[in-house]
């Protein structure tokens, strides 16, 4: 009897033990009510839980009793929690659907006008490495961008020209801060380069229109360069080029790094050896000193400082049309200083604060014949922005900015001196609304005020992007853009109003499987363009009477997997632009806006030779120019521009790179326009001289050696 009782008790006890667990089952769905596998479902504070299967269902037992919290968790989805009562009876929980969080990784991005160069995986057209390995670029940032859609090559200028706009319409920024005189000063027909070394930047953002309200004072294009974060190691980099050389030293620790660089360049010896088209008295020469430092602060912020100072010059004889002899003597001396510092911190509560200040100071001292012209330009830009992520669907970027621009020019002999100082104030706000991860809408507003022309303006901008297929998306962007006229005009007429443009851009982007296809159609209108009397060298009475437009299409195709170890991209841009500007009394096709532009860049790696061979070919249908013998403005067109460049990079040792590049291998005599005599000769004809290339070819040989404890480090690591 007792024995039986004992067994009965045991039986119950066993049952109690079995029933002291609560079975929980259920199903997880996504937003579209499809089963969601891989979700972690568990009782908070315990190890009990399960993972949903292919059909979205799950089932588990828990020892927990009483009121408990049931958690549904999956990376990339918004977690959900429910209160349940565990009383040892099975729970069949209702179906739960999880909403996917919109993140930078999975959301559509606005690609209208934009071309990003970074290591990030999405919407990238160019990688940082491409900038130095594009043969025609010769290591210049701008040179690489000239192979991208929407740009045109103007070989005797070197600057970036975007969609029928002149070079001043491209705003250049480092870490969001404006850079004044980003190009080196030059004279005659000798093309310029960007002052900044591509090694300084971890990524670039280049837009040919319809860009964010964050960028002001840029009518056609924004080029944003993002400086590097903390260097991973201490090293020394020695570079020896056929044109000069330099040394760079980096000291690095976990929390901070500093790089100091010095370079000396002199084209003189090279120009002695290789035949030049320009009659040099003293070839271009320069030195520069640069410092860049990054520091991780104790509070989690990142502080960056960059400073650069340089000096350079050149002396040449410029032949004049219809005049015998060497022509006029030009002597240019330049001094340039740039400094900037910025601080950025992301807070836990969704705010990201950025504050920074930049200062550029450029001084040109030019002798043209016997006339001494001195120009000095100063630009100070202070900026404070706050980005707030309200949720994964709404974020706002707002900021205030102050720009101080001072300009002074003097003609010493004539005792002419003029200057101005302008204080500009800006505010902007821009809101991103993700309606789903496939659809984003952005609207922004930028307001500005200039003390010099007493103008206050508002620029609204909007864009949206929609993902049409797994790898394809369309975007549309539009807005108004304002820019104060260039310094040489403002100093003559401080009352000049802003130059204005309206953009409308439709873009299709396909990216995936090592392939990028980008097609874009655009329309841009210009208002208040500056026109003047007299010659471009000496403008008189500038006024805002010009108007114009540019419309066209671009195509870009990049393929990196079709042929093993080969990467290539092809670009075609069609631009139809007419504008009344500068000295022109009617709407004309600008000389810097050829209609048809084509380029192809290809790189092939030879692993067994430890080499990379690069090829780039660019061509366009010729530049418009005015032949005064024929009457009308812009009545003629030069022959087609063509340039084939080759480069070869060799890595014999991990820390040594030898690079050799030749531009215009075929030696084509490209002409960018013609310079005409002011007055006709005795037979009534205006004589002319072609504005051509500085030399038929350009050769560059460089040896780059990296010294570091880690023997595998090389200069490419700087990219």
């Amino acid at each position: 009897m007792t024995r039986q009782l004992y067994f009965t008790a045991l039986f119950f006890l066993i049952h109690v033990a079995v029933f002291s667990q609560t079975g929980i089952s259920g199903k997880v769905l996504d937003e579209k009510n499809r089963p969601l596998p891989g979700v972690n479902i568990f009782i908070k504070g315990s190890y009990d839980g399960a993972t949903s299967g292919e059909d979205g269902t799950f089932e588990f037992d828990t020892d927990a009793a009483g009121t408990q919290t049931l958690v549904y968790q999956l990376m990339g989805f918004k977690s959900q929690e429910f209160t349940i009562a565990c009383d040892f009876s099975p729970i069949v929980f209702r179906d739960v659907s999880l909403r996917e969080m919109i993140t930078e990784m999975n959301a559509v991005t606005i690609s209208a006008g934009a071309m990003q160069a970074s290591d990030a995986s999405k919407a990238v057209v160019l990688k940082p490495l491409d900038i130095v390995t594009t043969p025609s670029a010769m290591g210049d940032i701008i040179g690489a961008f000239q192979t991208l859609p929407g740009t045109s090559t103007v070989g005797n200028d070197g600057r970036l020209f975007v969609r029928g706009g002149d070079a001043s319409e491209v705003g250049i920024y480092i870490d969001g801060l404006r850079v004044g005189n980003a190009y080196g000063s030059t004279a005659g027909n000798f093309p310029t380069r960007t002052r900044f070394n591509p090694n300084l930047f971890k990524g670039t953002f280049f837009s040919t229109g319809g860009y964010s309200a964050e960028y002001g004072q840029a009518l056609s294009s924004a080029l944003a360069l993002n400086s590097k974060d903390i260097s991973p190691r201490s090293q020394g980099d020695l570079s020896l080029l056929s044109l000069g050389g330099g040394y760079s030293h980096t000291l690095s620790s976990d929390k901070q790094s500093i790089t100091v660089t010095g370079n000396i360049f002199d084209l003189g010896p090279y120009q002695e050896l290789v035949k030049q088209n320009i009659d040099w008295e003293r070839g271009p020469h320069s030195w520069d000193l640069e410092m860049a430092s990054q520091k991780k602060l104790a509070d989690g912020g990142l502080l960056k400082v960059m400073a650069r100072t340089e000096a350079g010059g050149m002396k040449m004889w410029q032949k004049l049309p219809g005049v015998e002899g060497r022509g006029v003597f030009i002597d240019l001396d330049n001094r340039y200083t740039f400094a900037q510092t910025n601080w950025k911190k992301a807070y836990e509560n969704g705010w990201t604060i950025f504050t920074g200040i930049s200062y550029s100071d450029n001084k040109d001292d030019i002798f043209y014949d016997s006339v001494n012209l001195q120009k000095r330009s100063k630009l100070l830009h202070a900026k404070f922005t706050g980005i707030k992520d309200f949720s994964d669907r709404i974020s706002a970027n707002s900021g205030i900015e102050y720009i101080q621009n001072g300009y002074k020019e003097a003609i010493i002999e004539a005792q002419v001196e003029r200057d101005y100082e302008d204080h500009q104030f800006y505010g902007f706000t821009e809101w991103d609304f993700y309606l789903s991860k496939k659809l984003v809408f952005r609207s922004g507003l930028r307001a500005g005020h200039s003390s010099l022309n007493q103008e206050t303006w508002l620029d609204p901008r909007a864009s949206f992007a929609y993902q049409v297929s797994e790898n394809g998306q369309i975007s549309l962007a539009g807005g108004t853009f304002s820019q104060v006229p260039t310094e040489n005009f403002r100093v003559l007429n401080p009352g000049l109003k802003n130059v204005k443009a309206k953009h409308l851009i439709l873009n299709y982007l396909y990216g995936g499987n090592g392939r990028t296809l980008r097609a874009e159609a655009f329309y841009k209108s210009y208002d208040n363009l500056v026109t003047f009397d007299g010659l471009p060298m000496a403008p008189l009475d500038p006024i805002n009477e010009g108007k114009g437009f540019a419309k066209g299409i671009d195509l870009f195709y990049r393929e990196s997997r079709l042929v093993k170890n080969t990467d290539f991209w092809v670009t075609y841009s069609f631009v139809d632009s007419k504008r009344q500007f500068d000295q022109y009394s009617s709407k004309v096709q600008p000389s810097f806006a050829p209609k048809h532009n084509f380029s192809i860049v290809a790189k092939h790696g030879f692993e067994s030779l430890q080499s990379q061979l690069g090829m780039s070919f660019s061509m366009n249908d010729g530049y418009a120019y005015t032949d005064p013998n024929q009457g009308e403005e812009m009545n003629s067109k030069t022959q087609s521009f063509q340039n084939l460049s080759l480069s070869w990079s060799y890595l014999p040792k991990p820390n040594l790179i030898i690079h050799f590049a030749v531009s215009n291998v075929l030696g084509r005599e490209n002409v960018f326009g013609y310079q005409y005599a002011q007055t006709p000769n005795s037979s009534g004809v205006y004589e002319s001289l072609p504005s051509g290339q500085a030399a038929p070819r350009f050769l560059l040989l460089g040896v780059f050696l990296t010294l570091s404890k880690d023997k595998t480090a090389n200069n490419l690591n700087n990219l």
């Binding site: 972690n40 993972t51 990376m75 290591d119 990688k127």
Partner: protein, 210 residues
């Protein structure tokens, strides 16, 4: 000497104060070996995440969740970039619990190496130093960590192949790593839950380094 031994035992006991945690961990660590499919990997990974949620003071469950993400990215058909980012997310969280931990630092290097492998052509140049730096740091934090040494050896091997130089340096490191792994094995008991993986990595070198 005895006091030292007692102290050591006391530390071991103090650490082993939660048998339920140890048991749960040991069970999942054993389950790692049985993973054949993505689904199974997810199940084990989720179990580690549950333990991590319940024991917010422990870094190990997050470590294993991160390791599983990395291995899943190499083994199964998943969005690799997303998986490596997830792994880095877990590692970041674990580093807040245990800063300057050699195993976590080595694992971070492993995740970075994974990211490089997605697009070596363009990422290799900029991210290789980052991975190397992490391995260096992991080794300096614990000279006996076989995984840090073996992962670095793997990186060295990849670079020697790229530059066409010999694998001697990588092989030397791999030998060192294997030796450390052997030493580590002597410490392993049934309740040992710290990372012990690396054998497969070590055997990869056997062919190359003959």
């Amino acid at each position: 000497m005895l006091t030292l031994a007692l102290l050591f035992m006391w530390i071991t006991f103090a650490k082993a104060s939660d048998p339920a945690y140890e048991k749960a961990m040991a069970k999942q660590i054993a389950a790692i070996e049985t993973i054949q499919t993505l689904e199974q990997s997810q199940q084990v990974s989720n179990s580690f995440l549950r333990i991590a949620e319940a024991q917010p003071e422990e870094w190990l469950p997050l470590y294993y969740a991160g390791l599983l993400q990395i291995e899943a990215a190499f083994r199964f058909d998943v969005d690799q970039d997303e998986a490596f980012e997830q792994a880095l997310g877990y590692i970041e969280k674990a580093k807040k619990i245990a800063p300057d931990n050699s195993e976590l630092t080595a694992l971070e290097g492993y995740a970075v190496m994974g990211k490089i492998s997605v697009d070596p052509g363009s990422r290799g140049q900029s991210m290789t130093p980052q991975a190397m730096q992490l391995y260096n740091k992991a080794i300096s934090l614990d000279r006996e960590n076989p995984r840090a040494v073996l992962l670095m050896a793997q990186m060295e091997l990849g670079m020697s192949q790229f530059f066409g130089s010999g694998p001697e340096k990588a092989c030397g490191m791999a030998r060192m790593g294997s030796e450390l792994l052997r030493k580590e094995k002597e410490k392993i008991t049934e309740s040992y839950i710290l990372p012990t993986w690396g054998q497969r990595l070590a055997s990869q070198f056997e062919k190359v380094c003959q």
